[in-house]
Symmetry: C2
Subunit: 282 residues, 2 copies
Amino acid sequence: MPADHIAPPAHPFDSAIALAPAGTHLFNGATSPAYWNMIGPFGGLTAAMALQAVLQHPQLLGEPISLTVNFAGPVAQGPITARARPARTNRSTQHWWVELLQTGADGTEQVSTTATVVTAARRPTWGASDTPMPAVPAPETLARSDRSGTPVAWLARYEVRAIQGDIPQRWDGQAADDSLSRWWLRDDPPRPLDFASLTAMADVFFPRVWLKRASRVPVGTVSMTVYFHADGAQLTGCGSGHLLAEARALNFRHGFFDQTGLLWNTQGQLLCSTHQIVYYKE
Amino acid sequence: MPADHIAPPAHPFDSAIALAPAGTHLFNGATSPAYWNMIGPFGGLTAAMALQAVLQHPQLLGEPISLTVNFAGPVAQGPITARARPARTNRSTQHWWVELLQTGADGTEQVSTTATVVTAARRPTWGASDTPMPAVPAPETLARSDRSGTPVAWLARYEVRAIQGDIPQRWDGQAADDSLSRWWLRDDPPRPLDFASLTAMADVFFPRVWLKRASRVPVGTVSMTVYFHADGAQLTGCGSGHLLAEARALNFRHGFFDQTGLLWNTQGQLLCSTHQIVYYKE
């Protein structure tokens, strides 16, 4: 067989979010070592898997408009069942419930993740942006950020070129003035952009409380929302190019902080906005 | 009976979100003329009712941290059933599914609203804010905004004193430079602040696309999220004072725009951040 007929190995992201139909509203997947965080999967990967269940559902109408993922409990290494059900289907919009389930050590089914997704048909309309892309140096002019100091697997799956707000080099407890990070970002190895990978990239920022305090206090995202502004064609048009991604915190109090983020393509089009609330200790 | 033993009439907000237990995970309520919008209830009231089902649930643990409400379909005048179920209960956090249900004209049960809520025990920690309250004139120095030009019932339930970005006085299609509104806001009649009323207030802004375009195109909120930074004691401490509320749009494209908002008390403490994505026509 000629070499060009041998299928290339799947991108690790595609392997990690792969779901096999397993009955009405059900899909089977599994955690992936390539996107492992400290004690569970990278949250962005979990969010992408929840969305993927909707994208693969035979009753899907339209494309994703919004996604909210709630990280309800720990995800253990091993099989995951995704259940995606339409809660309501209208003429041009559809509302989804999604759960990620695992069988606990005691044999009972546990909900690790809950999510809601809205999909809809998009139509051309008047448009405008009140969040122009900031003027920043081109990705080629910036060095790739060194993430070897935090040796968790999923960090190697993203190429980050930080403009500002890279992960602190010294954990000296000195409070930062702000909590803004601005990075060029793409999959490593590069991969054509789609809704699932954009969702994962919306969670790629290290915790704002680490930047603000220069201290690695324990953290965990509680809930994350993505509003999609791009349609599938626009994402396809981005290819495997860099995205400009920024995030900043809004408020830290009583163990929870929130952050807001924006991701643009190199043409300066806003692809999504994203928000999350995160638990922190101490 | 002495006059001070006669119970005062309930505040219209309390009447509007009132839910009566109706079985396991179920509560009965109804739409309220006092918070009626053009063709359905004010969305903030619907969001508050979804939260209220969790707040009244006998298994509730902790206080609200985040709420996402998806407006899945129209809400008709009449009875509403709220179903609130814990999806997962951990040691100090709890994840909820909520649905608002109505019986359709054909006798079938319809989901009008889906929501997820996270509740948790809050503990004192280090804290900071990256969203200080802007310097604005005191509410007493500003005139109350005239909303008589849009005669829908719920507008009369809020006292708005606009600093900037009030509802356009002329619908002349002249695009505005930005989409920022800043208002002092409180219930009318005044009512002590709580989680439900703060949730409703997070949806009090007229559509950003109306401000941006000075044109009343058809709109409808698709999904709305509130991240609570205040605990119950802090909300109680606000009494019935004004809140400073601001909102701005991020991006408008292909029939959907998103907005982000912040609400502070008069002491400058951020009480919540809120985000939503809204459908618009044309």
